[in-house]
Amino acid sequence: MNFKKITYSLLSLVLIGSIIVFAADHIDAPAVTDTKADITDFYAFQGSSTSNLVFVANVQGLLSPSATANAEFSENTMIQFNIDNTGDNVEDLVIQVIFADGKAYAYGPVAPSEKGLTSGVEFNANLGAEVEITPYGQSAIVGTNNGIKLFAGPRDDPFFMDFAQYGEIIAGNATSFNDPGSDTFAGTNVLSVVVEVPKTTLGNAETINTWVQSKNRVN
């Protein structure tokens, strides 16, 4: 297969327009692009204490510094971290984060009373934390409760990629990446939710399967 053909195939896979899409999950689908529910990235890793696991969800990507001060979480959008600890890719535990009056509230990890695409909020979860949303330009505010830590607020977008050169390749203006490349996401911010929990709250499995959802209010 020659390069032209590859390029054509690539073209057929992306939205053709002013923005060419190939990022972690930034602007991934028309229904969420430019909404407060647009997830840009999801991370899950061992904390600074190896007894803990950290979940990160980023939303509303490509924020310039000047746009960041006015960016805010929506009270009508919930972030839900899903945890499958039985290997069937169905959530056995969830951590839900909602936003109200300048604060973020995390519920869980808790076995959800309702699984699937639509759910209520697990207000009665035994575990959870709350924290004031960190305003732009201020030091990170951390909420801690029973070993669970919570942060919500603007952060540097941790994602990195030569998105611009990929666009040039797609457009047929280049045949390869540059070396060194240039990080298109340099200097841009996201809104982040970071939750750290003791691994003991996630069950006994050696490996979990996890995914994040943004859920919009329907009533």
Binding site: L13, F22, N89, D156, K199, R217
Partner: protein
């Protein structure tokens, strides 16, 4: 005396009961306790929807539960991978993980992140594979390598690495780990 005492007790009990009745809803919730939410966006591994799902299916991929994704999108993802990369052109072709096209798509078609609770958590660090996703992991280069690089990672060298290997800011050693915004 006894009667009035009894009356007082009843009155107090009544008040307390009224108080309890008001508390039946539990402590006030930050938003309406009956609020319901439905999925808008969804993500497990990086770049699955953006790369492997056709434009017309991107919304529905986001609102299909991971346990149902493979049945709904596997064929489309396989077709798109074949169209995207010449590295899987032959039946015997595989990626650097030793996966042929079918095995690679089997992995990706259920979009969840596999995370170890007992060891190192990384998308790929040269040794450990798909045991989590840490902030510094070069996930795009890993995926480009698996898409374009062939069995030993040497095929299509100009496309198998974007040559951006790290973030523009240092991550923090402690919570919340992500760097302060610009």
């Amino acid at each position: 005396m006894k009667l009035s005492k009894l009356f007082t007790l009843l009155l107090v009990a009544g008040l307390v009961f009224t108080g309890c009745s008001n508390d039946d809803d539990g402590p006030s919730t930050p938003i309406d306790e009956d609020a319901r939410f439905t999925t808008a966006d969804q993500m497990g591994r990086p770049a699955v929807n953006t790369v492997f799902i056709s434009s017309s299916s991107k919304n529905s991929f986001n609102t299909t539960l991971p346990s149902n994704q493979s049945a709904a999108f596997r064929t489309e993802m396989e077709t798109n991978l074949s169209g995207l990369s010449p590295a899987y052109a032959n039946e015997s072709d595989a990626n650097a993980l030793g996966q042929n096209r079918d095995a690679f798509i089997d992995l990706l078609a259920t979009d969840v992140l596999n995370v170890s609770l007992t060891g190192k958590t990384t998308f790929f660090d040269g040794t450990n594979v798909l045991t989590g996703r840490a902030l510094a992991d070069d996930v795009i280069s890993t995926e480009l390598l698996l898409i374009f690089g062939g069995e030993d990672g040497t095929e299509n060298p100009g496309l198998s690495d974007d040559n951006v290997d790290a973030n523009d800011k240092m991550f923090l050693a402690t919570f919340p780990y992500l760097a302060a915004p610009f």
